[in-house]
Structure formats: C-alpha cells, structure tokens
Point group: C2
Chain length 216, copies 2
Amino acid sequence: MSDLILHNYFRSSASVRVRAALNLKGLDYSYTPYALLLNEHKSEGYLGLNPQGLVPALEIGKKAVLTQSMAIIEYLDEAYPKPPLMPSTALERARVRSLAQITGCDIHPVNNLRILRFISDEYGVREDGKAAWFRHWAATGFMALETRLALEPETGEFCHGAAPGLADIHLYAQVLNNARFNVDPAPYPTIMRIFEACDALSAFQDARPENQPDAY
Amino acid sequence: MSDLILHNYFRSSASVRVRAALNLKGLDYSYTPYALLLNEHKSEGYLGLNPQGLVPALEIGKKAVLTQSMAIIEYLDEAYPKPPLMPSTALERARVRSLAQITGCDIHPVNNLRILRFISDEYGVREDGKAAWFRHWAATGFMALETRLALEPETGEFCHGAAPGLADIHLYAQVLNNARFNVDPAPYPTIMRIFEACDALSAFQDARPENQPDAY
C-alpha cells in the first residue's frame, strides 16, 4: 500500500503530467478519481484537501497535500532524485522550466474546462467557438515552443538532451489535449518528434487518459 | 555595468515579479523597456530574444536569455543563494511553489493583456466586461490563496515564515494588478497583511510600476 494518493481525473491534462512523473520515478500510488463534469472537485471534501478546487492534488501519507502540477513534479524530483527530471545546472533548469511554463502557464490554464465553460455561459460561445479559442492559444504557445526546440542546441531526443523530464511531461500532456480539439500538428515537427519519443515509453503510455480506471 | 539586462515593461505583472526578485538579491541590472501597447514585444528584434513575444526576459551576459518569470526567479535563487527566496526542504518548497502558481498559472495568464484584447476583439466584450472578467478570475484564485494562507501553519509575517520569497513576489505583483481593475481587497485580509509587509521593503517598492523609467 503506497502512501501516495493521487486525486485526479483521467482526462485532466495536469493530471496526465503528474501521473507521468510518478511513473517515470517508478512510484506506486493510489488513484482517487473526481468526475469534473459532475463538479466532484468542488465538493466540500475535496475543497478541504485543495481549497482551489482543481485537480490534481497529491496526498503524501499524513504529512501533506501538494497541489499545482508543476510544484508536485518538482517535489517528486527533489524527494526521489532517480531518474532526474531536471538537468544539473541552474541555467539548464531555467531552460527546462521555461519550456514547461509555456504550456503550464500560457496554454493550459487559458484553455481548461472552467475557462471554456465561462466563455460559453457568459458570452454565448458555442462548441465550435470554444474549439477555436482552444486552438488559438494552443497554436500561439506551440509555435513559440516549436521555434525554441528547433533552434536551441540543448534540444536532443527529448526537450533537453537524451532523457525525458519536466518539459517533456508538459509537452506530452498538451499534445494529447490538442488532439481532442483537432489542433493540426503539422506546424510542430520537433514537438511531435519528441511526443513520439515520449509515447514510446510505458511511463507516458500508462499516464494516458484512456488507461485510467475512471476513463469512459 | 551589470551583465544582467531585463527586457520588460513597467506595468507588466510578471515584470514586477522579476524586478522584485532582482532587488531582493541586491543585483544590479540594465533596464530595457518595451511598450506593450505599441506591440514592441512583437518586434523581430524581441522575438529573436524570446520567440514567445512576452515580457519579461532576462539576458545574462553572452550566456543565455531566460524567459518565464517563475523560471527566472528560481534561476536567480539558485545562482545567487543569499538571501534565499525558497525554503530549505522539498515539502516546503512545494508549498511555496504551489502558492505562487495560484497566481502564476491560474490568475495572471488568464487575465493578461493578450486575453483581454482577444475577448474584446472576438466577442465584443467592452471595458466593463473586461474588468468583470479580470475580477472573476482574480477573485477565484485569491479566495483559494486567502484560505490557504489563513489556515496553513507555515504562514508567518510572509507567505512562508518570516522572510519574503517566491510566493510573496507573486502575491505582491497580483495585488498591484488587482488594484488597477478595482478588485475589492476586503475578502483577503491575510493576503493584504502580507502585501503590506512586502510593501514596507524597498526591494518591492523599487519594483513598482510607477517607479520604472518607462512609467507614464
């Protein structure tokens, strides 16, 4: 019985990230699902764990409840150093964090369920308009990410060198998310090459939405 | 002559953060302004530095250009350890990062200039509607941040203990930003107490928009 409990949702992009990190570290964890479409993440019980009412949250024994996927992944990397998800120098870590944050700050939070619900409820934006919103911000961020990955010499088989890490985890989850909204992958050959390298690994495969117990 | 060049904009919230971090570290830097309202951050020259076309970016001598404010601040903390902007244990760092990311991921990127422009251009949302959008996401995030800061025993004079760090920097910049859109501060007494503690320090004062050379 693991002392790690992941509170999450199969389709949540931030949940994919944390599952991939746990898998890359070879960590066992218990899986507690929340049906976002039924607002289970807004229940009193879950708000007691995470007042922000967003998934994922990672419960660590009786010690702590961690929230925010980037913070959780950095914690896992510090607490379980092998294999590393971050490079060894401060400048390299800055590069990897900034690549991850293109998705983690500037694509995903702008495109998640609560925002799409809001533009529908408040501005009457319909399904095709919500998809257009998603694609606009995904393309804006991915164009910058593609440019950087294609130009910067530190890019290797993965975003930074020959092993997957924080930036790859973010890239992978976002590519899966993009597919749901029919974002054309053609302009992003470097991103898609790295996605395929990740997708060949069981740690990433096992983090995919369709491989979770609450998938339908 | 410093080898640090900050590419930024006086009013940008992410720029406030990096200026506060540089000031807390006592680092000298050159200030290069970009008038966002004139789209100077979308110029060919700046896109060569940062393909994402967002401020801030921190140029480090001939070595590197760092982007994404959270990544820049973590770099500064690693490269210039005194005074620390992060606590000493992995669990504490996870707490501080998650507090910062409430603002850095879930409030600010949803509320920044490009999003407000988009809902105006695409959905015809007017000035009062843009302010309502801003206040909605600021309040949603700040309610969670207030709850956590008020309940969690690690909160001290600052977000984590007795010295300012990554979470305070994010809190400070967002409170300044909220004031521009008339977000009522009354529901956030803990946040405002910490804001005042930051605002009493010259490192934060000197990072304020109105104290920059491009302010008008």
